[in-house]
Symmetry: C3
Subunit: 347 residues, 3 copies
């Protein structure tokens, strides 16, 4: 993080902020108030974290214009400390990877595949017959684009991703390393002896624009028709999306969530980490499913459900609170029984 | 899905079904009744879904021969609507990937590796020393087959799979993209200071015939001996199988399940999504472990367990139902106390 | 396992142990007492497993020097049966993979990348600009080392791993197939319409010495600064570690655990399988989080927590036990009500 050094005065000036304290101190990077080491700049937005100022080792802190507390170090007043912090962080960061336009000589591209303008195809990437790749899209090292796949413009596929045959990807989609789009759905016919025969999974996956898919995700193709990921959906690492699932626009699927076959996840719904949804269910628009929750029936639009089986937050919290008071209820029960016993014995 | 167009009369004729309604309407694909758009054919098997007919946009519906309800669209009577539907779906689907026999010139194959007849080895696949690949098996792009690995006939390894050294795979095994067979078990010796030293994991993985393994699965090799996956076992995406696990024939392991070291999973047992099994346990033949359940002791053959800790369904459901009634029990407790109080005061 | 055959007498001699029983019997491998088949040698350390001797098919059993029970087969007395067993297992195992020093001609290495002495770079591996690889480290087939990455000495990266730009890896680190180090953190700015814009993730991942990372793991880079994995940390398969997480030395993260952004996991803490930790929390040094538990607030050093929400083991177990007794409490409540009713009616 110490590739550049700026003075506090320079930082304040570049941000258009107002510095209080010495301007000649060197800033070498940024960090959270708790983790900051000497030379690093922190920021404070929420009043509830003001106590963290006391123990921070930050060289200075970005605060709101109307900040009215004491600080043990220089402060820089700005309109939006978090945004300013993000900007400063960018000054100190090593440059992120930007794939250059061009096809690496080791890439294998089928003769009938179509590449748009300024496409990047990395070393050892393979693009199969009939695939279409839009302008400025990057398929990085060891990527595999199956036959008949269509990928839009301005996408980035990090190394070692796979897109199985006939899947369709929109524009500005980001897919992180190791993710698989279009693997077979988990579908079998079972005979009377409990032996399973594979049902061909002849559908595909359709991913809309502006989707981001994390690392080592698996999205199964549909048994027929399409598994669909809507516009602007964000999917975190190690998520499992089964065949024929329909995720509507702008939903958020946090890490390690599993969504069973043929579920619908509504617009702007949020599934928190490690949650699961049983098959053929609908999670309504704007609903929130808590971390590790298990959805076993439809979730109403806008609802907030938690637990297993998932139920509305209030109901589940109340049951949980009562459960923790069970030792008390048990004692009360025993006390009442003793008092009844006394009454029965006329004493 | 609209690569072909057939008329309803043509669909009915090909299926040997009986059409009621106009025969000249175009069919362009298939879909579920709920998701169908204009031109798509649906199907109805179970009477409980009959109400879905009202609102479907399907162009026509496949129904059982003895169907006796009204439909808002043409129907085609067939013996088995689901089977007929699957058949029609196949007519409209783009062809699935079929790896052609042949070794891609970019594949790297050790001199002493043995390839059977009509094997497919895809671009940039690597087959190490002493590996043996059976007839008609496909190792697709970027696949890695470690030294001494034996793979049977008619297998398909999708792109970017890895099989570590000395593992053995049967016939007709399918492995989806990104899966790893034979990674080291998670075994360490711990010293008094809590520092861990790796215990060499010198066993292997043996996968029997007719197994299917989903995407981004990890199956660890045994500490010694073998982790074994039985005949016909089906494993979904993102599953974790630890060292020395023994999965018996025809068991089903749904997505994101985790099985700890040295467990035995019985024949035909089913582990539903995101379930976990603690180490050294036995899940009996034909047992079912519910989704997200945590198995902490042996499960009897044929049992159906749910929850954490996993217990028989009836017992767990009863406890769950009582838990939800705790607010009522608490009120009742307060009421009884008031009545006792009155009795005590002689009123 | 039967590549070699030794007699029992030879095994005893090599171990410096004392044989009781026939020495001319052939040993062809090793196994657990339960799974052993003819020819395999087992071992017994804990007295509680002594009953397993009765039914074992093991050809002989390694026991402690002071073993004083009957055995149905020959025994070899040794000081540490488990250690002796591990040693014997090594004699019978096929040799594990050891990557030879050397750069495969198909590897693509940027001109300004620096390779130490005796490095192994496997077929189709790609090492990008500015990367530095330490002595004797192996980057196996299909591995990808991003620009500016630094990897120490004596590391082993199994096939198909990825390390994103600028990440730093210590010495003697092992990374299993399919794992991803440095994928983007899951961070977005949300506008009033619920549409998310990506926040650049400009930090990196720093992995200390002696870490082992399982298969298909995802470790996200920091939003700024670094996600840090401390010295000697062991991470099992399919684990998710979010941006800015700090894992302190010698912690153990079991399979399928998910750790949310900005958490700190203390020294020697253990997170059991499928556990989850919500964002910005601290799990104290030496704490244990039970399998499938969901941590929703800070965990004290040395604490043992289970369940969702995770709470101290004793408290959670007590609540669990009371929950199972709810049917009994309900009956008791009804009984008391009847008795009160009788008292009220003066009978």
């Amino acid at each position: 993080m110490a590739d550049h050094v700026l003075t506090l005065a320079e930082v304040a000036e570049r941000l258009g902020g107002s510095l209080e304290g010495r301007g000649d101190i060197a800033v070498t990077g940024v960090s959270g108030l708790r983790e900051a080491v000497a030379g690093e700049l922190g920021y404070l937005t929420l009043p509830k974290y003001v106590s963290m100022l006391k123990n921070t080792a930050a060289v200075a802190v970005l605060v709101k214009s109307d900040f009215d507390r004491d600080a043990p170090c220089p402060i820089i007043r700005v309109e939006d400390p978090e945004r300013a912090f993000t900007e400063v962080a960018g000054w100190f960061a090593a440059p992120l990877l930007v794939p250059e336009p061009g096809v690496h000589p080791s890439a294998i591209i089928a003769e009938d595949a179509q590449l748009g303008a300024d496409v990047h195809v990395g070393p050892y990437a393979v693009i199969e017959s009939g695939a279409v790749i839009g302008d400025r899209t990057a398929i990085m090292a060891h990527g595999w684009v199956g036959p008949g796949v269509r990928i839009g413009a301005d996408c980035r596929f990090y190394p070692s991703t796979s897109v199985r045959e006939h899947c369709e990807i929109g524009d500005r989609v980001i897919v992180h390393n190791g993710s698989v789009i279009g693997s077979d759905g988990f579908g079998y016919a079972v005979d009377e002896g409990g032996v399973r025969t594979k049902i061909p999974q002849i559908g595909k996956v359709i991913v809309a624009d502006d989707v981001e898919i994390g690392a080592n995700v698996a999205i199964d193709r549909a048994r027929f028709g399409a598994t669909r990921i809507g516009k602007g959906v964000k999917i975190d690492n190690l998520v499992m999306i089964a065949h024929n699932v329909q995720i509507k626009d702008h939903a958020v699927i946090v890490a390690q969530v599993g969504i069973s076959g043929s579920c619908t996840i509504g617009k702007h719904a949020i599934l928190a980490g490690q949650a699961g949804v049983a098959g053929h269910l609908e999670v309504g628009a704007g609903a929130i499913v808590g971390a590790q929750s298990g959805v076993t029936k439809d979730v109403q639009p806008g609802a907030y459900v938690i637990g297993f089986p998932a139920m509305p937050f209030d109901k589940a919290s109340r049951a949980q609170a009562h459960t923790m008071r069970l030792p008390h209820y048990k004692s009360k029960l025993e006390e009442l029984e003793a008092r009844i016993h006394q009454l029965e014995n006329g004493s």
